[in-house]
């Protein structure tokens, strides 16, 4: 298992940096959450880690530098991202979406993994042969998660998995993430606006404010913390 270590990472679009001098660390099996308000740079942080935007600074994964590698190279090294908007391959069937997630694997357990995640998400099993574009938003979020997990990542990046979903579905989703973490030992790095749910899951928290990490620490430090309120409400 590998550790993600980020030092002095800045990233943005064109010349304008959106995040500045970010340090963070995710240990094997750990669940880490980045909290922050709209526009704090959460999504940019995720996209920098998954290789979708150019970065400066150092990012290592399992001791290997991954800064400015292409997204597909980073994915093959064991980091899978569940992007905001879910990234559904709409014209492919649900099953094919899952096979895409496993397309870089050469082992013989792909089918077993598909069966496993379809068991976890019966809605996906029921619609296995339908075009994935016909799934509901919640189902597409499940599909995105399952697709990422089919790559058997060591680290899963989830960008606002709760966005646009009904509360009951969000609850299922977080309990699923917790199960995945417990059963497979996959480390999770979440970005969330839904602080309460995220704090239940995570053991370590970073607070992002307009592009800077302003606080970090074990989750227990943050329960009822003023810093969280400030990060969200600017108070």
């Amino acid at each position: 298992m590998s550790t993600l270590e980020v030092h002095g990472m800045s990233a943005g679009y064109g010349r304008a940096a959106v995040i500045h001098d970010i340090d963070l660390r995710v240990d094997p099996g750990q669940v880490v959450v980045i909290l922050g308000a709209n526009g704090a740079g959460k999504t940019t942080t995720m996209r920098a880690l998954s290789g979708e935007v150019p970065v400066s600074g150092s990012i290592t994964f399992g001791g290997r530098s991954i800064a400015n590698l292409r997204p597909d190279q980073i994915a093959r090294l064991g980091i899978r991202a569940v992007p905001q908007g879910r990234g559904t391959l709409t014209s492919l069937t649900v099953r094919e979406n899952l096979l895409v997630g496993a397309s870089c694997r050469a082992d013989s357990e792909v089918e077993a993994d598909i069966a496993r995640w379809m068991d976890a998400f019966p809605a996906l099993a029921r619609r296995a042969d339908q075009p994935a574009g016909t799934l509901s938003g919640g189902e597409q979020q499940m599909l995105a998660l399952a697709r990422a997990l089919l790559g058997r990542p060591q680290l899963l990046l989830c960008d606002e998995p709760s966005l646009g979903l009904a509360p009951v579905i969000v609850r299922d989703l977080f309990s699923f993430l917790s199960t995945v973490n417990a059963e497979t030992g996959t480390s999770l790095l979440l970005v969330e606006q839904n602080a309460n749910l995220a704090l239940n899951l995570a053991s370590f928290v970073y607070l992002l404010e307009v592009g800077y990490i302003v606080e970090s620490g074990p989750t227990s430090d943050f329960v009822n913390s003023d810093a969280i309120r400030r990060a969200y409400l600017g108070m």
Binding site: A81, G87, L89, L92, E96, S103, T134, S136, Q140, A148
Partner: protein, 298 residues
């Protein structure tokens, strides 16, 4: 009746070639969201190459294989060196680049092989007696060979795209490049392979059509194929593989029947017919007959 069968057969022969060209255009469009105007000229280059090899004593089948390999390289190199750097600058520069490539390739063919018309041996027996009679009409083996070759090729392409790992990656990269990359697929390499594969399809289409084309093998051989092929691809919906095939076959048949039976159109107007059919289809179905708009539920 005899005339009808002959016209249907002619239409089918051309239609299959148009279908192959349309399929090549669709494969490229799905990868790079651009219509490769140089597709037919890439094919003309490799067809010349094949013809030149046969004049040096090589068998046409060996020449076909060489043309496919060279075609793959031309397509792949074009994508990697001309198209991908251009794409960041938008659609228009890419399109201009392809039009430039169209003219450049045509001129290079002229420079190397001259402006003469050449008669080229086909893959299939093309003698005066190589035919079977159906309802009094002569169906030449040359034509039947084109049908069979095209059907086999189409079957191979569809199986490759729908049933193989590479095909799955191609469909994923066409559907949502970002997601495909995040799943570990090297999208750039997939596009390169797509362009190469499309040029192979074009090469085969060129070698099928040149021996039976009215233009024989000349600088003008592939231009009508591009017009009909792109009209077929657009009628089919530009991103639909099946649509390209149906578009190609129906345009081939429409061309043959309309120019045959409607005096007003005649041989002079037939390329106009292809474009008119395309315009009419687009008026009623802007995404083509089988094209899909991007629809997403949230």
């Amino acid at each position: 009746m005899t005339l009808l069968v002959e016209r249907l057969a002619d239409g089918l022969t051309n239609g299959f070639v148009y279908a192959l060209m349309a399929l090549a255009l669709v494969v490229v469009f799905r990868a790079s969201s651009t219509v490769n105007f140089a597709q037919a000229e890439m094919a003309l280059f490799t067809t010349y190459l094949a013809w030149w090899m046969t004049t040096k004593g090589a068998s046409i089948w060996l020449a076909l294989i060489a043309a496919c390999i060279v075609g793959f390289i031309i397509g792949a190199v074009t994508e990697r060196t001309l198209i991908r750097p251009m794409e960041k600058r938008g659609e228009m520069p890419t399109l201009l680049m392809l039009v430039a490539l169209f003219t450049a390739l045509n001129s290079i063919d002229g420079l190397i092989w001259g402006l003469d018309y050449h008669s080229m041996d086909g893959l299939f027996p093309g003698g005066i007696d190589d035919y079977i009679s159906v309802a009094g009409a002569r169906l030449y083996f040359e034509a039947i060979g084109v049908w069979v070759a095209a059907i086999v090729l189409l079957a191979v392409v569809f199986a490759a795209i729908n049933k193989t790992r590479l095909g799955l990656r191609m469909r994923a990269a066409a559907d949502n490049p970002t997601s495909a990359a995040l799943s570990g697929i090297n999208v750039g390499r997939i596009y390169t392979i797509g362009w190469g594969g499309a040029a192979v399809l074009g090469s085969i289409a060129g070698i099928l059509i040149a021996p039976i084309s009215a233009q024989q093998l000349s600088l003008a051989t592939m231009f009508p194929v591009l017009i009909y092929g792109s009209a077929a691809a657009i009628i089919g919906g530009l991103n639909s593989l099946g649509g390209a095939v149906i578009g190609g076959l129906s345009l081939g048949l429409a061309e043959s029947l309309l120019t045959g039976y409607v005096d007003l159109i005649g041989p002079q107007m037939h390329q106009t017919t292809a474009l008119a059919v395309m315009v009419i289809v687009l008026l009623f179905r802007p995404t083509g007959l089988f094209g899909s708009r991007l629809e997403e539920r949230v």
